[in-house]
C-alpha cells in the first residue's frame, strides 16, 4: 500500500514560514492546532458579471487551513462553495483579496507557475470525475505525471492499490462504475504527490454506499497527512471533517 506523507512544499517554504508568524488569522472555524498553514485566504471577493448585473459569488472571505487538516466547505446551492474551491485550486483569480498556498501568493504568480502549482502541489477531484474517456485507468492516473517535472515514472500500480482498483488498470472509464471512476480520479489527483487535495462534491454523483467508500478513502488519505478540502452537500462527509466552513450568499459563517 502506498503511504502518503505530509511533505514540505516545493519551493514555497519561505512563504508558509512567514505565515506561521502572521498575526492575522481567520475568524470562522479557526483551526486549533499549531501546524503550518497549507492555505491562507485573506479578504477574498469574487465578482462575476452577467450582462449589467454583478454577482458577488464570494464576499470578503477570510480563513486558514492548516497542514493535515480535513476541511469541509458546506452551504446551499449557489452559496459560492465551488467558486471558493476554484480560487483555492489556482483555477481562477479573485476580484480582490489574496490567497496563499503553502505560503505562495497566487496573485503574484504567472500562468506557468500556477500550472506548476496545480500540477505538483494540488490534487483536484471533480464531481464529474474528469477522466479522459480515450485513456485507460492507468493512463488517466499517470497523466498529470506526464506533464513534466517528474524524472521517475509514477507508481501507478501502488496508487491504484491504494484506491483498491489495481484490477482495473487496463479498463476505460466507460467500463467503470461511478464510485470506481471517482476512486480513479482520486488516484490521479495523488500521482504527483500533492500536499493539498481539493474535492468538489466528490460524492455528488454517487449512491450512498459508494459515497461511504469515497468518504473513507478521503479520511484515510487525510490520516496519512494529506490536507483535504471538500465541497459537499453530503452530511456524512462533512461530519467526518475536522472543521466545517459554512458559506451563505458568498460569506463565510462560523
Amino acid at each position: 500500500m502506498a503511504s502518503l506523507q505530509a511533505r514540505p512544499s516545493c519551493g514555497y517554504s519561505d512563504g508558509w514560514r512567514s505565515l506561521l508568524t502572521n498575526p492575522q488569522s481567520a475568524a470562522p472555524g479557526e483551526p486549533s492546532t499549531g501546524a503550518p498553514l497549507a492555505v491562507a485566504v485573506r479578504g477574498v471577493t469574487k465578482v462575476y458579471r452577467r450582462g449589467i448585473e454583478e454577482v458577488r459569488a464570494i464576499d470578503d472571505v477570510t480563513f486558514d487551513i492548516r497542514r493535515g487538516e480535513f476541511l469541509a466547505i458546506t452551504g446551499h446551492s449557489g452559496a459560492g462553495k465551488t467558486t471558493l474551491l476554484q480560487l483555492i485550486g489556482a483555477m481562477d483569480t479573485p476580484t480582490s483579496g489574496s490567497i496563499l498556498i503553502n505560503g505562495h501568493e497566487l496573485a503574484d504568480m504567472q500562468d506557468s507557475k500556477l500550472t506548476r502549482l496545480r500540477r505538483d502541489e494540488i490534487g483536484f477531484v471533480f464531481q464529474h470525475f474528469g477522466l479522459l474517456p480515450t485513456l485507460t485507468v492507468a493512463e488517466n492516473v499517470a497523466l498529470p505525471a506526464s506533464f513534466g517535472g517528474k524524472r521517475k515514472p509514477p507508481d501507478v500500480k501502488a496508487l491504484l492499490e491504494r484506491v483498491s482498483l489495481q484490477h482495473r488498470m487496463t479498463h476505460r472509464p466507460s467500463e467503470l462504475s461511478g464510485g470506481e471512476m471517482q476512486r480513479v480520479a482520486i488516484a490521479r489527483a495523488l500521482v504527483n504527490g500533492p500536499s493539498l487535495l481539493l474535492a468538489d462534491e466528490p460524492t455528488g454523483n454517487l449512491d450512498s454506499g459508494t459515497s461511504e467508500r469515497i468518504i473513507d478513502l478521503l479520511q484515510s488519505l487525510n490520516g496519512d497527512g494529506l490536507t483535504v478540502v471538500v465541497v459537499t452537500h453530503n452530511e456524512a462527509l462533512a461530519a467526518k471533517s475536522d472543521r466545517r466552513l459554512l458559506l451563505r450568499d458568498g460569506k463565510a459563517e462560523g
Binding site: Q86, R118, F126, H128, F129, G130, L131
Partner: protein
C-alpha cells in the same frame, strides 16, 4: 501525447475520416498536378532526346503537328524534296542531316497502325542510344524493326516477313532495335528508297532530323536555313524552342489545375479548422480538466495542433495514395485535353513530389490548427467545472 492524439482522432471516426477525406482530395489534386507537370516535362524532354536531333526540318505548316507526327508516327500531309538534304548538310555547323520518309498504314481488319520509316545510315549519327541486334539495313528489302513490333509479330532476326498493310510487299529482318521505351520500339525502318517507291513518292521525304556540332550554333544554323533558297518551302523548328513553346501551351492547363488544387487546399484547410474548432468547443471541459490537473498552455496547444497536423498528414498520405491509384484515369483525362502529350507514364510517384505534398499538407495542418489550438490553450482551467461534456 502522440497516443492521445491518435485516440482523440479515433474517438469520432466518421468526422475524422470526412475531414481527412477533404484534405486527401485537395492533396490528390495537388499531387496529380505536380506529378503531371514534372512527368510532362520529363516525358517531353525524353522524347526529344530520343529523337537525337537539335533541329527538325519539316514541310511548311504547323510545326507542333509536325513534331507530334515525327515523335509518335503518323501520315504526313505534305513533303519535302530530297535535294534539300544536301543544302542542309552543307550548312556550317550541321553535323548530321538525316532524311526520313514516314508513313503510317492502317490495317482495317485489326485497326492497328504500322509506321514505316525510310532512312539512310545518317540516322545512326542521331540515334546514338540505339542498340541493334543484327545490322542496320544495307540492301534493298532489309528491315530494321522496333523491339515491340518484333515481339508482337514474333519476327526473328533473318526472317523473311510480309509487311503489314502493304499488299504483297515483304522484307528480311536484318536488325532488331533493343527496347528504347520510345516510339522507335513500334516503328519499322527500311532503306529510304524502298519506302519512297513503296509509297510512290520518289525523291521526296517527310522531314529531316538535324544534329548540330554544338547546340550553341543553333541560332546561326536556323538563320542560315531559313534564308537559303529552300527556306521558303521548309519549316525549321529548333526542338528546344519547340519544347518551351509546347510547355507554354500547356501552361494554361497547368495554371487552371493549380488554381483548382489551391482552392481545394484552402477549402480543406478552412473545413479542417472549423472541425477542430467544433471539437475544441465540445471538449471544453476535457481541456479544462487537463489545465486543472497541470497541463500547460503549450501542452494543450501542442495537443490540438498535433491532432490537426495528424489529420492533415493522414489525409495527405491517403490523397497521394489515391492519386497514384487513380493516375491512369487522371492521365487519360488530361491527355484528352492537351494539344500534345509525350508517350509513357506521365504521373509517377517521385519521392520529391510525395515529400513536397506531405509538407504542404502539414503546412496546411499547422495553419488550420493555429486558431483552434490558440483557443484551446486560452481556456481557463475553471472551464473544467463550469462546462458540461467532454470528460467522464
Amino acid at each position: 501525447m502522440l497516443q492521445m492524439i491518435i485516440r482523440n482522432l479515433a474517438r469520432r471516426k466518421m468526422r475524422s475520416a470526412v475531414t481527412a477525406g477533404g484534405v486527401a482530395l485537395a492533396v490528390a489534386a495537388m499531387f496529380s498536378m505536380l506529378a503531371f507537370m514534372l512527368g510532362y516535362q520529363r516525358g517531353m524532354r525524353g522524347e526529344l532526346d530520343r529523337l537525337g536531333a537539335h533541329v527538325l526540318v519539316v514541310p511548311k505548316g504547323c510545326p507542333y503537328d509536325a513534331a507530334s507526327i515525327a515523335l509518335h508516327g503518323a501520315n504526313w500531309p505534305c513533303y519535302l524534296k530530297q535535294d534539300y538534304v544536301k543544302t542542309v548538310q552543307d550548312t556550317p555547323h550541321v553535323a548530321v542531316a538525316a532524311p526520313v520518309y514516314m508513313s503510317a498504314v492502317y490495317d482495317s481488319a485489326t485497326g492497328a497502325q504500322t509506321v514505316f520509316c525510310g532512312v539512310t545510315r545518317e540516322i545512326l549519327g542521331l540515334k546514338r542510344e540505339w542498340k541493334i541486334d543484327g545490322e542496320f539495313p544495307s540492301a534493298s528489302g532489309d528491315l530494321l524493326v522496333g523491339s515491340e513490333t518484333a515481339k508482337d509479330r514474333d519476327w526473328k532476326l533473318g526472317a523473311q516477313v510480309t509487311l503489314p498493310g502493304l499488299d504483297g510487299a515483304s522484307g528480311r529482318i536484318s536488325g532488331i532495335i533493343r527496347p528504347t521505351q520510345g516510339a522507335d520500339d513500334l516503328f519499322i525502318y527500311m532503306p529510304l528508297q524502298d519506302v519512297q517507291s513503296q509509297f510512290k513518292r520518289p525523291h521526296q521525304i517527310t522531314h529531316m532530323l538535324v544534329r548540330l556540332d554544338s547546340p550553341e550554333s543553333m541560332e546561326s544554323v536556323v538563320n542560315a536555313l531559313r534564308s537559303c533558297g529552300a527556306g521558303l518551302e521548309m519549316n525549321v523548328v529548333p526542338l528546344a524552342h519547340l519544347f518551351s513553346t509546347i510547355n507554354n501551351l500547356v501552361q494554361g492547363t497547368r495554371f487552371l489545375l493549380g488554381c483548382v488544387a489551391l482552392i481545394a487546399l484552402l477549402a480543406a484547410g478552412a473545413g479542417l479548422s472549423n472541425t477542430i474548432l467544433m471539437a475544441v468547443a465540445e471538449r471544453t471541459r476535457e481541456i479544462g480538466v487537463l489545465r486543472a490537473i497541470g497541463a500547460s498552455r503549450l501542452r494543450v496547444f501542442g495537443l490540438i495542433l498535433g491532432e490537426t497536423l495528424a489529420l492533415c498528414v493522414i489525409g495527405g498520405a491517403a490523397g497521394i495514395a489515391a492519386a497514384i491509384i487513380g493516375s491512369r484515369g487522371i492521365e487519360a483525362w488530361l491527355r484528352g485535353r492537351l494539344p500534345f502529350t509525350p508517350d509513357g507514364t506521365l504521373i509517377q510517384a517521385q519521392p520529391l513530389t510525395v515529400a513536397l505534398c506531405l509538407l504542404v499538407a502539414a503546412a496546411v495542418g499547422c495553419l488550420a490548427g493555429l486558431l483552434p489550438a490558440w483557443r484551446a490553450c486560452r481556456l481557463a482551467p475553471v472551464a473544467a467545472i463550469q462546462t458540461a461534456g467532454g470528460a467522464s
